[in-house]
């Protein structure tokens, strides 16, 4: 009967142990060729911000979805909305708008705002006459948006596109005012449980059909024994289309836009819990948009 080579087996296992200790503790393989899932939270925010900015520019929702999946958020919409709130709090409204627009598009399954790209007509003109430029901005009444949509940016011939970029259309920055149009639709109603906000805060954000915030929109809120009116745009540091109202506990409210909108009924300040298990009065966030 052959003897078991204990010494050799012992050397093998000792070597195995030494190798594992070396590769895990002494010289672990460096963090290279990593995926966005392992990025630090603030870098993930920047990555998400770039995805939203890219989506705002192209309107390419499948591509944005694929990119968001790389970050590995359990709920991309929630992550986008949460980051948008933080951006609003820190005064970065443009980025907040882009993030909110992407979150909305993910919820709806399509891009619900216009993508600021040159018109096909202008591109055709460029191809025929390379020296031609985009038309000048329209008169002041029409200033808000002279862009028209074209979802075909990816298919745009390179030369033509570059010719357009050489003559970028000026982008107006006028604050929008509400105009008579289709009634506003209540497109989102979210419960906000965030201890950073005042108790019972009712936030209202109003967008026009081009996904731009609308200042000066009159909001009517009513409850059992009273009614009050307030307007968007009084807190421009948060957003031109933003307005808020402080809800009392155990009071049910109904809210609508004076210009005509869906009625958000049955609004009650929700009871939320802190991570430590303490109850506090949460808020509600309503988003209206003109179809």
């Amino acid at each position: 009967m052959r003897r078991v080579p204990w010494a050799i087996l012992l050397a093998l296992f000792a070597g195995l142990g030494l190798g594992v200790v070396y590769s895990w503790m002494i010289a672990p393989r460096g963090a290279v060729d990593t995926k966005p899932t392992v990025l630090r939270a603030d870098f993930k925010d920047q990555y998400r911000g770039a995805i939203a900015a890219s989506f705002a520019a192209t309107g390419n929702l499948p591509r944005a979805q694929a990119r968001l999946s790389l970050i590995g958020d359990p709920d991309s919409i929630e992550a986008l909305n949460s980051q948008a709130q933080r951006m609003i709090a820190s005064g970065e409204f443009t980025q907040a708008d882009q993030l909110a627009a992407l979150a909305l598009a993910l919820e709806n399954g399509y891009a619900s705002f216009s993508v600021p790209t040159p018109t096909l007509e202008s591109l055709d003109n460029v191809s025929v006459e390379p020296s031609i430029t985009l038309p000048p901005p329209p008169p002041s009444e029409d200033l808000p948006f002279q862009f028209t949509e074209t979802p075909e940016l990816v298919e745009t011939p390179i030369v033509e596109t570059q010719a357009v970029v050489d003559n970028p259309t000026p982008r107006p920055t006028r604050t929008l005012i509400p105009t008579v149009g289709a009634p506003f639709a209540l497109i989102a109603q979210d419960t906000v449980c965030d201890t950073n906000f005042p108790d019972g805060l009712l936030q209202v954000i109003v967008f026009n059909s081009r996904r731009r915030q609308v200042a000066g929109a009159k909001i009517i809120i009513a409850w059992e024994n009273g009614q009050e009116e307030f307007f968007t745009g009084l807190k421009p540091e948060i957003g031109n289309g933003y307005a808020d109202f402080s809800m009392s506990p155990n009071v049910t409210y109904a809210l609508r836009l004076a210009a005509g909108s869906d009625i958000a009924a049955g609004l009650v300040a929700p009871t939320c819990q802190t991570p430590g298990g303490e109850d506090f009065l949460g808020g509600v966030k309503l988003t209206f948009q003109q179809p």
């Binding site: 296992f13 594992v20 990593t34 392992v38 990025l39 870098f43």
Partner: protein, 115 residues
């Protein structure tokens, strides 16, 4: 006797090699909270493409440079150029490459001083 010690030595070296392979390849240490400069080249290139897509619409070179600064110490133009180089070698679409080329040009022209 010498042959026995030789076998023990071979077993030890084999064990070490297997242990290192296990720790480096099969079950490497997982890292979290990393910086973007550790991202794989294709993710970096896609990030550059995102910035290029946004730049096309925004035409704000300073903003694009700030976005590219995510990758750390390299200059924005070299980050964009690296992304473009990867895109060219990896068969990105012509329109994507054109966007990145435009970004590289803008970053090369960008002085770093906002008006």
């Amino acid at each position: 006797m010498k042959l026995r010690w030789l076998f023990i030595l071979i077993a030890l070296i084999t064990g070490i090699a297997a242990g290192v392979a296990y720790g480096w390849i099969i079950d490497p240490v997982e890292f979290y909270d990393l910086t973007p400069d550790t991202l794989r080249a294709d993710y970096r290139a896609d990030y550059v493409l995102m910035v290029a897509e946004a730049y096309r619409a925004e035409q704000d070179a300073g903003l694009a440079a700030r976005r590219l600064a995510l990758f750390g110490a390299q200059s924005p133009s070299s980050i964009a150029a690296d992304g473009l180089s990867f895109a060219r070698s990896s068969g990105f679409g012509d329109s994507d490459i054109a966007l990145m080329q435009e970004l590289v040009t803008a970053m090369q022209a960008w002085s770093g001083i906002n008006p």
